[in-house]
Symmetry: none
Subunit: 118 residues, 2 copies
DNA sequence: TCCTTGTTCGCATAGTAGTAGAACAACACG
DNA sequence: CGTGTTGTTCTACTACTATGCGAACAAGGA
C-alpha cells in the first residue's frame, strides 16, 4: 500500500492524504505523468470517504503538483522532488546550528523536536 | 500593542497568542523575569476570552518559556537561555509543520535532525 | 484583610472535518 | 458510437474542536 492514513491523528485526513502523495512525489515513488489511484478506489482502500480523498487531491492541484480530469483521474504534472526536501534540510541545519550555539546536547535537540511533534 | 491576533486566520487563537509571545521573547521585546499582561487584561485588550489566552499561556509553560502562578501572573522564565529557547522552539515548530506537509513520519523527522547533528 | 490572578468546573455556540448518497459532466476506450 | 470510469457538485447529517461565557475556587501580593 503506497498511501497511508492515521484516523487518530489530529491532522485532517485530507491533509494526510495530500502529504502522503507529496511525499511519494518527493521520493520519486510516483513519477511525472503517472496516474494516481482514482479517488473512489483510494477512498475504498483507505477506508475513508470519497470526498475526503478528493479534498486532498484538490489541494495538490491548487499546489500545482497534479492535474485532475474527469474520466482520466489524477496525474502527476511536475517534478519538484528536491525542492521541498532541500528547503526542509535547510531548516534542519538552521535548527541544529542554533541549538549548538545554545549548548544543547543532541538528545536535548531531539527531545525538543519530539515535543514539537507531539 | 505588543501582542496581536487575527480572528480570521485558520490558526487557533490560543496558538496565535502563544506564537506571539514566543516571538516577543525570541526578539528580546520581553526579558526574563518580566511579567506578561494578566490573562484577563490581555483577553480584554485582544477581544478574546480569558480561557483562550490561558490556553496559549499554558502551552508556553509546557515549553518551559514562562511560569504561571496565581496572584502573580505569567512571568518569563528567569533563565538566560529562555530567549534562545523561544527562538529555537519557533524553528522547531516551523520545521515540524513543513515536515508534516511533506508527509514525513515522526521518526523520519527525528532521523533527519540526528543526521544534521552528526 | 482585600484584591489580583491563575485554575477548574459546566455548558452553549460556531465552525470544520468527515461521512453519506445522489445526480451530473467530461473523458477513455473498445 | 456507446459504455463505463472518473472527477464535480449538491445536500444533509454527525462528531469534534475552538471559542465563548459564567461561576466558583485557591494561591499569592499589597
Amino acid at each position: 500500500m503506497l498511501f497511508r492514513v492515521d484516523p487518530a491523528s489530529p491532522q485532517p485526513l485530507g491533509d494526510q492524504i495530500a502529504a502522503s502523495v507529496r511525499r511519494a512525489i518527493a521520493e520519486g515513488k510516483v513519477t511525472p505523468g503517472e496516474r494516481l489511484p482514482s479517488a473512489r478506489s483510494l477512498a475504498d482502500s483507505l477506508g475513508v470517504n470519497l470526498h475526503t480523498v478528493l479534498r486532498g487531491y484538490q489541494r495538490l492541484r491548487e499546489e500545482g503538483l497534479i492535474e485532475l480530469r474527469r474520466g482520466r483521474g489524477a496525474v502527476v504534472v511536475d517534478d519538484t522532488s528536491a525542492r521541498g526536501r532541500a528547503s526542509l534540510m535547510l531548516r534542519v541545519r538552521e535548527l541544529v546550528d542554533q541549538a549548538r550555539e545554545l549548548g544543547l546536547t543532541e538528545e536535548e535537540v531531539v527531545g525538543l523536536v519530539r515535543e514539537g511533534l507531539a
